[in-house]
């Protein structure tokens, strides 16, 4: 594998330089009518003087450039993508088609409402599905991603406390140590102070630990359920009751809602607010890092504070409320109505599955994870493996680290086996975490194939093949990349004069 080709290509893997290195400012792949120019100018002398120097490509060059780039990416459509807490499931293509219907994609957010009844109906229908599934009386659709939904929920809590005259006294938000980093970051962004609940050996949040922290200054709790260790929180209802009794609110991080959709309604657990990642549970595509969507369901206590814009029904007519004046709405999350393109995809997904299919989604996701747990448990340490997991399997590094192999090395060895690795080093409460989420869209034979690979790797660890792991990946499009170098001398854009890394690489 040390053979170097003249072209830099590796078989079907085409080497591809930056558009800035191969494109040209005088090339273009778009033919537009020639402007007449001159006499009509109304720029008031503020025309662009600075050079633009944006490289352009003809259409065939553009196609090739991005197709070549695409072939350096892993994707769900290529294989199992067991990235725990990220929910990489199949993206049905009907959803893509629906989102592109002219009647949705070619609508402006500020068109007169008389021209958009179908859009409002769609949003209302999506809201109905989300509320029925979660057992919650209201939903704010506009948050643009999961973290944005968290922010929405926490701002609603803040507004409710303000309405009670307690915003200044109730500042403390309880956040379990195992929480995703967005939870504490969001609580702070919403003006709260984070009080961490230390992790316990069983990976769960205990009622006693919560009660010990309750007081008149507690605004609420942010808990993930199922939690980041892939476990359902058995005391969740009693924790919710205790929080409510103490005058606080219960924010549930819905990142793992896909494990219980159609099986358990968060509304029955005492939840006051929960964001739903449409890109996880309802399979809108992850797209290499967004766009997401984070509609947030709200309890009756928080519903009056939902942000604008939202739909108000007057008889059979749906209208948009776009301003918070004269209402209790806490404000506005973004310029327009949220991620409409994701609403169409998510509703298409929900209708395709129906109430029966959605329950099956949760059951198969949990079944697939427990099957992998059963197969991997004899070969790895599963810290909470004595009980069933939900939709993801958590392993730690205690069976590999003493042999000199780290979690990151296991991950890199999986790259050579043709897999995207599991989530590494999250949750932080487990040492060297490997978090595996197969999702419900994997057939059994793919699970078996993956388990066979994991077991074979565990055997290599036991055989002391440390160098095999440290050298991985050898077969991926690239070898291990130097994060330290990237961070020490940040090079975040192409510049004509400072192309040093490329030069060094060439030397």
């Amino acid at each position: 594998m040390t053979y170097e080709t003249t072209s830099g290509n590796k078989g079907l893997q085409q080497a591809e330089s930056l558009i800035f290195e191969s494109g040209h400012a005088t090339s273009t792949g778009v033919d537009l009518p020639e402007p007449k120019g001159g006499k009509y100018e109304k720029l008031g002398g503020l025309g662009r003087k600075a050079a633009l120097e944006l490289p352009g490509f003809s259409e065939p060059e553009t196609m090739r450039h991005f197709v070549r780039l695409s072939q350096k990416n892993y994707a769900i459509d290529l294989g199992l993508f067991p990235l725990g807490s990220c929910t990489m499931k199949h993206n049905p293509r009907l959803n893509e088609r629906a989102a592109r219907f002219e009647g949705f994609a070619d609508l402006h957010p500020l068109q007169p409402t008389s021209t958009i009844p179908g859009a409002l109906e769609l949003m209302d229908e999506l809201a109905h599905w989300l509320m029925e599934l979660t057992g919650m009386p209201a939903v704010a659709l506009s948050p643009k991603a999961g973290a944005h939904g968290e922010f929405c929920g926490m701002l609603a809590i803040r507004a409710a406390l303000e309405a009670r005259g307690e915003a200044e006294t109730r500042k403390r938000v309880l956040v379990p140590e195992s929480a995703h980093g967005t939870n504490p970051a969001t609580a702070v962004a919403a003006g709260f102070i984070v009080d961490e609940i230390p992790a316990r050996d069983d990976g769960r949040v205990h009622l006693d630990d919560v009660v010990a922290k309750l007081g008149p200054d507690v605004a609420g709790i942010m808990m993930t359920n199922p939690n980041t260790c892939g476990l359902f929180e058995p005391e969740i209802k009693r924790i919710a009751d205790a929080i409510h009794e103490a005058g606080g609110y219960f924010y549930c991080d819905g990142a793992n809602y896909n494990a219980i959709v159609g099986k358990v309604r968060p509304g029955d657990l005492g939840v006051d607010a929960m964001h739903i990642n449409l890109h996880k549970t309802f399979s809108t595509p992850h797209g290499g890092g967004g766009p997401g969507a984070g509609p947030t369901v709200l309890s009756a206590a928080l519903a009056p504070f939902a942000p604008v814009p939202h739909i108000v029904k007057r008889g059979e007519v749906r209208e948009l409320r776009e301003h918070s004046d004269g209402t209790q709405a806490f404000g506005r999350m973004c310029a327009f109505h949220g991620q409409m393109g994701m609403f169409t995809r998510a509703l298409t997904y929900m209708m395709s599955h129906g109430s029966d299919g959605l329950r099956q989604v949760a059951e198969d996701a949990v079944l697939n994870a427990n099957y992998l747990l059963a197969r991997l448990k004899p070969h790895f340490n599963a810290p909470f493996g004595e009980r069933p997991c939900m939709h993801e399997v958590l392993l730690d590094d205690s069976s590999i680290k003493p042999k000199g192999v780290e979690t990151i090395d296991m991950a890199k060895a999986l790259l050579d086996e043709g897999y995207h690795p599991f989530t590494t080093y999250f949750p932080l409460v487990v040492h060297g975490a490997m978090l595996i989420e197969p999702t419900e869209t994997e057939p059994k034979r793919e699970l078996d194939r993956f388990a066979d690979v994991m077991i074979a790797l565990a055997e290599r660890v036991n055989a002391g093949e440390v160098e095999f792991f440290k050298q991985a990946p050898k077969l991926a499009p690239m070898r291990r990349l130097d994060d330290t170098r990237a961070a020490r001398q940040p090079k975040l854009r192409w510049k004509p004069e400072a192309n040093s890394a490329a030069k060094q690489a060439a030397e």
């Binding site: 994060d483 330290t484 990237a486 961070a487 020490r488």
Partner: protein, 124 residues
Amino acid sequence: MTTRFTKDHEWVRLEGDVATVGISTYAAEQLGDVVYAELPAVGASFAQGADMAVVESAKTASDVYAPISGEVVDANAEIKGENWQIINDAPQDGGWFVKLKIANKAEFDALMDEAAYADYVKGL
């Protein structure tokens, strides 16, 4: 000259009423290659245990707490000049962070000495 340590892996060396402060060899090893550090400005004052500096590797960030109370009288020019490697190469020497004019020597005396710190690290 005695060096003393905190449970958060800062070290302190005292000369008269000026303490030199840095992160321990153990901490530097745990952190890995340092890619960034932010030192406080000369003149800033810190109470013992307050957030004083930040040190980062590519994947983690750690707060550095003031091991004892005092006012910053010097910050390491090497680090300010982005020579991050010195923190990895000589954490308990040339890779020091700041010098503090201390207020209370008793705080220094209460910290772990070298042997106690070595035991503490062994137990981690």
